[in-house]
């Protein structure tokens, strides 16, 4: 069976498709507004005419490439290409502005690679166990996970914790716009049909990050750029490798675990990894200033999700995230039924998929390291041309998402809001975190109470939810202890 799988994959045309998939994935991921899901959905119709191996491996290539590609724009332009790299922008852009863009890109590429590879290993070796773990998640566990994620607001609020809290709350409140998912009543929709299903968070993200960054560019237009941003040391230095490998293993594992839980994706994983990296760091106060491990952790985690998300899809036939949902559709078009019987009925295809995952990650590593110089050319474009181009890309990117001019208006509005938030030293990342995790927290909070008939003890009724409860307490208390400890040392 495995021999047959190798024969399926190591066909020149299949390998070419993986390379093409990864390359186009990187480009899609790079552009703000073109998300991973959208990239895979765009490629999907092309696969209808292909055979199963070609089609699924092309999609996997796009998936792996796009999750990684988002970090390039995040590092070079402080403009996360996909929500999954919003956490990478925090330190990646800071490191790039110190003149170490090459190093930042190298770290993100190699930790993405290790994270992705680790998740493939888990996918092959222990996916049935992980799938069982994933099924244990019900509403109370999802709620606790979301709250645990929201605790990371304290790690990413920048100078003022209170301002971070306000911006996180703003994100959560924005997410409540729309039809309430539990009772069906309208909330803050003001009878505007575009608001019925809520504000899409991608245009908000493009506005807060890309657009407001472009406005800052307009403000600094007359200043001479001081740092000569030569791209050197793309391949990480030996001193960085230790940290990269360690982060790759730890946060790649974490990403896989988060990825295999249905409905939780790369965006959440990277924020949680960032928060954890900060909690366990020896110098948490340096986070946000361009720390290497602050780039490695979220990147390893978001690529770790790629393998994790495939686990419930292959073993249970349920999607781990939106991308896996599209892949299920792609497999079905080929006449393959993802689910418990897939291994029995179509073993070679499943093994081919495993091998393809490894190749896609290797491909991403090689292409990533080699194309970095090309992408970094962006930095040598004069501001007077770069800034208007970013304006344009923000507009078309948020339009392309859903062919909606309303989304463009939302983007522009939050671009303006984001500029003033930056001026008052408020970090925008908590808004994104709130937008992603707010709905998950709220709907599962109320769903859990619906299922338990209003009994609040449901939130600490299982092992997983108690574990999260403890983790929440630790992650809130740890910074306080660290402060005390540090003071004593001084």
């Amino acid at each position: 069976m495995i021999v047959e799988a190798f024969r399926l994959v190591f066909e020149p045309s299949v390998l070419l498709f993986i390379v093409l998939g990864v390359a186009s994935g990187i480009c899609i991921g790079c552009l703000p507004g073109l998300t991973t899901t959208m990239g895979v959905a765009l490629v999907l119709p092309l696969t209808f005419g292909m055979d199963a191996t070609h089609s699924i491996l092309l999609l996997i290539g796009v998936y792996v490439g796009a999750v990684y590609g988002g970090s390039i724009a995040a590092i070079l332009l402080n403009t996360p290409g996909t929500p999954a790299s919003a956490a990478t922008a925090l330190d990646g852009y800071k490191m790039a502005s110190k003149g170490e863009a090459g190093r930042a890109l190298g770290i993100s590429t190699s930790s993405s690679f290790i994270g992705g590879m680790i998740s493939c290993v888990y996918l092959i070796l222990i996916s049935p166990i992980l799938a069982k773990f994933a099924l244990k998640f019900s509403a109370p566990e999802f709620f606790m996970l979301a709250v645990f994620g929201l605790c990371i607001i304290s790690s990413i609020s920048g100078k003022s914790m209170m301002k971070g809290l306000i911006s996180g709350a703003l994100g959560i409140l924005l997410a409540t716009i729309g039809i309430d998912s539990i009772t069906g009543s309208m909330r803050f929709t003001f009878n505007n049909m575009n608001l019925f299903s809520g504000i899409n968070f991608i245009p908000v993200m493009i506005g807060l990050f890309a657009m407001s960054q472009a406005f800052i560019g307009v403000e600094e237009m007359k200043q001479k750029t001081v740092v000569a941003r030569a791209i050197t040391h793309v391949f990480p230095k030996r001193s960085d490798w230790g940290m990269i490998v360690k982060s790759g293993f730890v946060y790649g594992t974490m990403g896989t675990l988060i990825g295999c839980i249905p409905g939780v994706g790369a965006d959440i994983a990277s924020f949680i990894a960032y928060g954890q990296a900060k909690s366990f760091s020896k110098h948490p106060e340096l986070f946000g200033t361009g720390l290497p491990e602050a780039i490695a952790a979220p990147e390893a985690a978001n690529n770790g999700v790629t393998g994790g998300a495939l686990i419930p899809m292959l073993t249970l036939g349920v999607p781990g995230d939106a991308v896996a949902a599209i892949m299920i559709g792609a497999l079905m078009v080929q006449g393959l039924q993802p689910g418990p019987l897939l291994f029995q009925n179509n073993g070679p295809i499943v093994y081919a998929l495993f091998i393809g995952c490894f190749i896609a990650n290797i491909c991403m590593f090689v292409l990533g390291l080699n194309s970095v110089r090309l992408f970094a050319k962006v930095l040598s474009v004069p501001k007077s041309i770069l800034v208007p181009t970013i304006f344009l890309l923000c507009f078309v990117g948020s339009y392309a998402l859903n062919n909606s001019i309303f989304d463009v208006a939302v983007m522009l509005f939050f671009g303006i809001v984001g500029y003033f938030l930056q001026k008052t030293e408020v970090s925008s990342s908590p808004v994104i975190l709130g937008l992603i995790l707010g709905p998950m927290a709220e709907s599962n909070f109320r769903r859990a109470l619906l299922m338990s008939k209003g009994d609040y003890s449901t939130f600490i009724s299982t092992g997983i939810s108690i574990t999260f409860f403890v983790l929440i307490i630790i992650s809130l208390a740890l910074p306080l202890f660290q402060k005390k400890f540090l003071k004593r040392q001084i």
Partner: protein
């Protein structure tokens, strides 16, 4: 920053109160399951408390770096914001191609020091590339406006 923080605190307190007012009118809890207003109210309370804290801190701390929002650099940003709103309307009512070309040509002229030919060429090239990639490769329909 004192003034900035006070304005910031004011704006967000007002927003929190506004949301609470609206959320109060939503249906009440049923069978122990919190209603649709519960969560927004909870979060706005957090926001209000945090905003008030920022406000109080702004009063008690000595002023350090003043928040400047009126320098010529900032005026330029405000003009850019206004122009982009005009661009959005232009794109919607006139058409993507023309509005984009004019927007790019305008901004490049304003920000840079190039010959008119180079500016026009750049604006045209960027419009063409973005249009082709999005319409032909990504199949995004740019169908609006009376002209192109």
């Amino acid at each position: 920053m004192k003034k900035g923080n006070l304005i910031f605190a004011g704006v967000f307190s007002a927003l929190a109160i506004f949301i609470m007012y609206f959320a109060m009118q939503l249906p009440k809890a049923r069978n122990g399951v919190p209603g649709p207003g519960y969560w927004p109210i909870l979060i706005s309370v957090v926001m209000l408390v945090a905003a008030i804290t920022v406000g109080i801190k702004a009063f008690t701390t000595k002023d350090d770096t003043p928040l400047v929002l009126g320098a010529s650099d900032h005026i330029r940003v405000y003009i850019a914001m206004g122009l982009l709103i005009v661009y959005l309307l232009g794109m919607y009512y006139i058409g993507f191609g023309i509005a984009t070309f004019v927007m790019l040509y305008g901004f490049i002229t304003w920000f840079g020091k190039y010959t008119w030919f180079f500016r026009a060429l750049m604006a045209f090239a960027i419009t063409a590339v973005v249009y082709s990639v999005f319409v032909y490769v990504l199949k995004v329909p740019f169908r609006f406006g009376i002209l192109f």
